[in-house]
């Protein structure tokens, strides 16, 4: 049962990753691309981490996966703000 649930989580996470990639390709300007990438991908990564924690078992592994996700969230939020600020400074749209 937990393996089934983990598989479902991983598949939903993959769908979010696909949405992020398609958004990165098809959205019209930089800021909307930034929006698509940094939200959809991090949610997808969180779902994949949750699924793997369910499949792998082991509390230590689950804590490590959670820490990876938190670190990626913080890093991605910081770099999204940096990129958006630089784009605004250079006067692009």
């Amino acid at each position: 049962m937990t393996e089934f649930l983990g598989t479902v989580f991983i598949l939903i996470g993959l769908a979010f990753f696909a949405a992020g990639s398609i958004g990165l390709l098809r959205l019209p300007d930089l800021h909307s691309r930034l929006h698509a990438l940094t939200k959809a991908d991090n949610l997808g990564l969180g779902l994949i981490c949750a699924g793997l924690a369910l499949i792998d078992g082991g509390a230590l592994n689950a804590v490590k996966l959670f820490l990876v996700w938190v670190l990626v969230l913080a890093a991605s939020a910081a770099s999204a703000h940096l990129i958006a600020q630089q784009a605004l400074r250079q006067g692009g749209k």
Partner: protein, 88 residues
């Protein structure tokens, strides 16, 4: 190995395809920031790929590699945006 092995293999392949699609933005992206976004996608996707490979290859150390990759992806963005010289 276990029952989830084929599913994990398929997920890894699909994720790699997704990352390949996203990499097209690095080629066509008009500005430097668009290319940086593509690198950002490769960072997040690479972390997910390593995490999926860790139970497949039975190598728990790959989770630590994913941690390092997450750190380096953000360092790349900071280095791009905080430089003093504008050469583009």
């Amino acid at each position: 190995m276990t029952t989830t092995t084929p599913i994990l293999l398929a997920s890894t392949t699909l994720l790699l395809l997704t990352l390949g699609i996203g990499l097209a933005r690095a080629m066509i992206g008009p500005s430097l920031q668009d290319r940086m976004l593509s690198v950002q996608l490769m960072g997040t996707g690479g972390v997910a790929l390593l995490l999926l490979l860790s139970p497949l290859l039975a190598m728990p150390a790959l989770i630590d590699v994913a941690l390092v990759l997450a750190l380096l992806a953000s360092v790349a963005a900071a280095a791009l945006t905080r430089r003093e010289i504008d050469d583009d």
